[in-house]
């Protein structure tokens, strides 16, 4: 059992030491997450400021599936409450995709209702990559795209291609995102 205070103990005065601000739990965890990143070959990360691990971009260039040949950029914002809260992810490339809407919102369960602190940045990146391999029409964000995918796969493929080449699908214009 410890005795916490000797009665006369005076705590150090406010001005007596110049303190070094120490690491936060979020920073410890993020350093670990980043150092452990093992990305599939279709993914790269870009850190505009290497000192700022909280904000970065993910670029996915699928090499199979509907979206092969495309290049899609996502912004990641990791909050100070990480990993208690999930990182915030937005798609910055306009994409014709059942689970990503035209504002860039991404419907991925582990980014919202199924987030758990044991999950990592790596897990989120794999999750997003999976969306490009297996778009899911059952829980859509872009309802039109989802309907086409579930009713007419060929049409869906054509629409994806048209959007990636740059052009209209319906009355929505998509910027080119094909890399050739």
């Amino acid at each position: 059992m410890i005795k916490l205070f000797s009665l006369k103990q005076q705590k150090k005065d406010e001005t007596s030491t110049g303190g070094k601000r120490k690491a936060t739990a979020a920073q410890l965890r993020l350093t670990k997450d980043m150092n452990d990143l093992q990305l599939p070959k279709t993914c790269i990360t870009k850190f505009p400021d290497p000192d700022d691990l909280l904000n970065f971009k993910l670029i996915i260039s699928p090499d199979e599936g509907y979206y092969r040949g495309g290049r899609f950029s996502f912004s990641f914002k990791v909050g100070l409450n990480y990993p208690h809260e999930a990182p915030k992810v937005k798609c910055e490339t306009m994409v014709y995709h059942p689970n990503i809407d035209l504002e860039g919102n991404v419907c991925l369960n582990i980014l919202r209702e199924d987030w758990k602190p044991v999950l990592t940045i790596n897990a989120v990146i794999y999750g997003i990559q999976y969306l490009f391999l297996e778009p899911n029409p059952e829980d859509p964000l872009n309802k039109e795209a989802a309907e086409v995918l579930s009713t007419n796969k060929r049409q869906f493929e054509q629409n994806v291609n048209r959007s990636m080449r740059g052009g209209y699908v319906g009355n929505v214009y998509f910027e080119k995102c094909l890399i050739k």
Binding site: M1, F5, K11, K20, I44, F47
Partner: protein
């Protein structure tokens, strides 16, 4: 700042019998006291002259804490809060009146207490806890939190852990421990806990005790709403940005026009789907993520925390070990248990290890040491640190863009990198489950640790 008027103050604050109640438990021995407890009048003197407390938050719990602590005999209390007073605070934050609305909580609370409780010297800080560094936090004997933010809790938890000092054998210097007493409430439920940083379970050890924010699947909100909350969430996530009803500004949950607009839009959506139950109150609750609160629960939890602080400071009884939950929905129920310290907690599990180098040592050499040292044997360590409050990535091999940007650091000396004696390095490696904190000792002699 404080104006010292010793004579006048002591006259007004001393009256016969004032401390009769607490003197009974401070000046008499008890079988339930801490083994080191020595009943004497010096304890009250210590509380009044030396003991310095920090109250974080001047809201529902904070107001109660200031009252409870000063009436229990403490005098020197600092209080931090970044908020201003809102009408909806007045049903429980009893130091505030209608005329105080929009004033800083910390200032109004301190002023009220100093006026009502003679001799009390509450010092307000109208700012964020993150605005101060360790030099500020070091001055306190005990810190108590009355917050609704997990971020802030974790931050102060980390701060107090960082103030721990260890001797060369890795033994904790107990005089460096600043106990953290933490309270939280939600409706008729609450909890109070005592944390001895470095010794007992900390906030991060028990992070799973805090429920995560309620979120709804995005696709449900977008296309298959079933509950009124889904409709409100829809307007927040999609409608606001699309329609920009008040221009290109974010939602302000305190602006009734904003809430009214969202409520109408959500009602419209609910009607389309045949969903009932969208109301103004619910809309505001969802948008602001309002937690219900009553005076009584705040009073109970703040009082439980204050009693623990009284026990910690005086040893006149043993402190709570270490967690109590309270619930008075059905009868009154408390449950007291010992939350377990997590051996792999990212915040408190590690004592900083020392690494000793000369200032001329190159970062490359330091990394080589991490990989070659027989007790470490790291594979590809990534290193970050904090200098003057700013995070720095010193080197990280696994991310190409960072590797490229930080590669020049490898051939810089520690001195050139701005690393000084006592600097903490955060090192992550595949060989350890968590990042490790190293404390850099910089000496001219070439001995490595």
């Amino acid at each position: 700042m404080e104006v010292d008027q010793p004579n006048e103050q002591s006259d007004a604050s001393k009256w016969s019998g004032r401390w009769n109640h607490i003197k009974k438990v401070l000046e008499r021995p008890s079988p339930f006291a801490h083994p080191d407890f020595e009943a004497s009048s010096e304890i009250l003197e210590f509380m009044q002259e030396n003991c310095k407390l920090l109250v974080i938050g001047a809201g529902g719990l904070g107001c109660e804490l200031l009252k409870d602590l000063t009436l229990n005999g403490f005098r020197h209390i600092h209080v931090i809060d970044m908020d201003i007073i809102d009408l909806s605070n007045l049903n429980r934050q009893f130091l505030f009146r209608q005329s105080d609305i929009n004033k800083p909580k910390a200032n109004v609370a301190a002023e009220f207490i100093n006026k009502r409780v003679k001799g009390a010297q509450v010092v307000p800080h109208f700012c964020k806890i993150q605005d101060y560094d360790s030099a500020f936090y070091k001055q306190f004997h005990i810190v108590v939190c009355g917050l609704d933010s997990i971020i802030a809790r974790r931050w102060i938890n980390g701060m107090l852990i960082s103030l721990l000092e260890y001797d060369d054998d890795g033994n904790l210097d107990q005089s460096s421990i600043i106990p953290l007493v933490d309270g939280g409430t939600e409706g008729f439920k609450g909890n109070a806990r005592v944390i001895l940083p470095g010794m007992t379970a900390c906030i991060d050890c028990t992070l799973d005790l805090y429920p995560p924010q309620v979120t709804f699947p995005m696709c449900t909100v977008a296309h298959t709403p079933r509950q009124p909350e889904h409709c409100i969430e829809y307007v927040r996530m999609f409608g606001w940005e699309k329609e920009k009803p008040f221009g290109d500004i974010p939602i302000d949950g305190d602006n009734p026009e904003h809430i009214t607009w969202i409520c109408h839009a959500a009602c419209k959506r609910a009607d389309e789907y045949g969903i009932q139950g969208v109301t103004y109150r619910l809309t505001q609750g969802v948008i602001k993520r309002i937690i219900p609160a009553v005076a009584s629960t705040n009073a109970v939890i703040a009082a439980a925390c204050s009693t623990e602080i009284f026990k910690l400071a005086t040893s006149c009884a043993l402190p709570l070990n270490n967690y109590m939950v309270f619930n008075d929905v059905d009868g009154v129920y408390t449950y007291t248990f010992e939350a377990e310290k997590n051996d792999t907690c990212i915040a408190c599990s590690q004592k900083p290890r020392n690494l000793t180098f000369a200032p001329k040592t190159l970062l490359r050499e330091l990394i080589d040491h991490l990989c070659e040292d027989s007790t470490l044997q790291m594979k590809r360590p990534g290193i970050t640190t904090t200098i003057n409050g700013k995070n720095h990535t010193l080197y990280m091999k696994s991310i190409p863009s960072i590797e490229e940007a930080t590669r020049p650091n490898l051939s810089k000396s520690l001195a050139d990198l701005g690393l000084t004696d006592g600097q903490e390095l955060i090192v992550a490696d595949v060989t350890t489950p968590n990042a490790i904190v190293f404390r850099l000792k910089i000496t001219e002699s070439e001995t490595k640790s």
